[in-house]
Amino acid sequence: MNTRRLSFIITTCAAALLCAELASANTPTIRLFPTTVVEDLRQTGNVARDMETGLQEVIGQLDQQQQLYQESKCDGAENDAGCQRLARQIGATYLEMLTIMEERLPDMEHTVNNTRVSLEKSLRNELGKKMTPWTLQETLIGSSSTSTSAAAAPTLRGRSGMRLSERFKNYYQLVATSGAKGDQSLAVLASDIYLDMEETSTLIARTRQEIARATLMEQLNQSFGIITPEMMEVVGGVKTILFGDDESAAAVAGPPPGSIEQAYRSPLEQ
């Protein structure tokens, strides 16, 4: 499992609430998040949450079984009948995990694709065809070019290793406390989500193929009661999705803002 998949789940979950909040709080002058996109995002967020809930239990069970396998000193004693039985149990739980993913992924794929297509259209029309590079820059920078606080913009990139639901809650709080956002934040947000969705569509398709292959392999392994390294790798990947990635530390804080007053404005300034 690729950790990148985490980012799309997080993004979609966050975006679902974020956009719902934005849609109700203020009406953007550029229509990057029409109602259909908001609805698609909400749905994707729900599917992601269901998947999290469904997998959490199975993962916990797998952890316990694996611990028991190790405590029973089954590593290197694969021919032992008890160890083979434990290995089959682990394999069965692993299959259960693959089945849950197989069940949830088509829904996810569908909503992700819907969102991607809707956002694609919005981005193309609103930022691609209706704007010049200069107006795009002005949209991004907002009305106050030099006094915009760095903390004002929501940052979706550089996600830290954190439990999915916790991350989701944090995004919600960010939106709830930051108040009304201008078009500049929406443009970045829409771009970020769209690129994530773009990548995610490909990843989901690949994952579904892999699940089919992994399921077949595990069904064969069930006859022998073998735990393959690949199996543990996949479980590790899923855990990363659910509980976060330790390697990706929190984003490094930016440099301190300057203390210089921005009183002077040149007549040449554009």
């Binding site: 193309r124 795009l136 915009t148 970045v188 210089i260 040149s266 040449l268 554009q270």
Partner: protein
Amino acid sequence: MNKITVLLTLLISSLLASCASNQPSCEGPQSRNLDSAISSVQASLMNGCVGHFDRYYDELLNIAEGDPKPENKRAFSEFLVWATDSGLLSKRQAEENYNRYFNVKFMSLKGDYNNCSHTCPNKQRVLMNMEQELSDKERGLMRVSLDQEGYYRADRLYQEVELVLEATCTACSAGR
């Protein structure tokens, strides 16, 4: 006939000699004080050294880096306005020179056509120009004017433009 030739030769020689003695040296400012340096540059520019404007501007930036302060921004602005009023620069050139170094906005993003048709096909070049401009902004905003906040905003704007253009251009190409 010979006399006429001699007279002509003398006349040409004296003309050439007078031209040589009046040619401005166009040396850079000697003072490390920005105000004095600007005055010196203004005198040189008015004395026929307009062709060296870019070099002078660069030297003034060097001098200002030696004594960075927020007021330097105003000094450069006034210098450029003076250059425009004196007819040495067009308003557009003055704006380009000022904003490239002292404004958060990127002059590299000037353009009259929509992003799908014009910016996206040249995306790499646009981003490369922005990157070069960002380093000029680091010089102007940070090292000359001590405007850290302005520079950090420009840096973030560059990253945002990069992200938004990537998404927008992908969307544009998908719609073809």
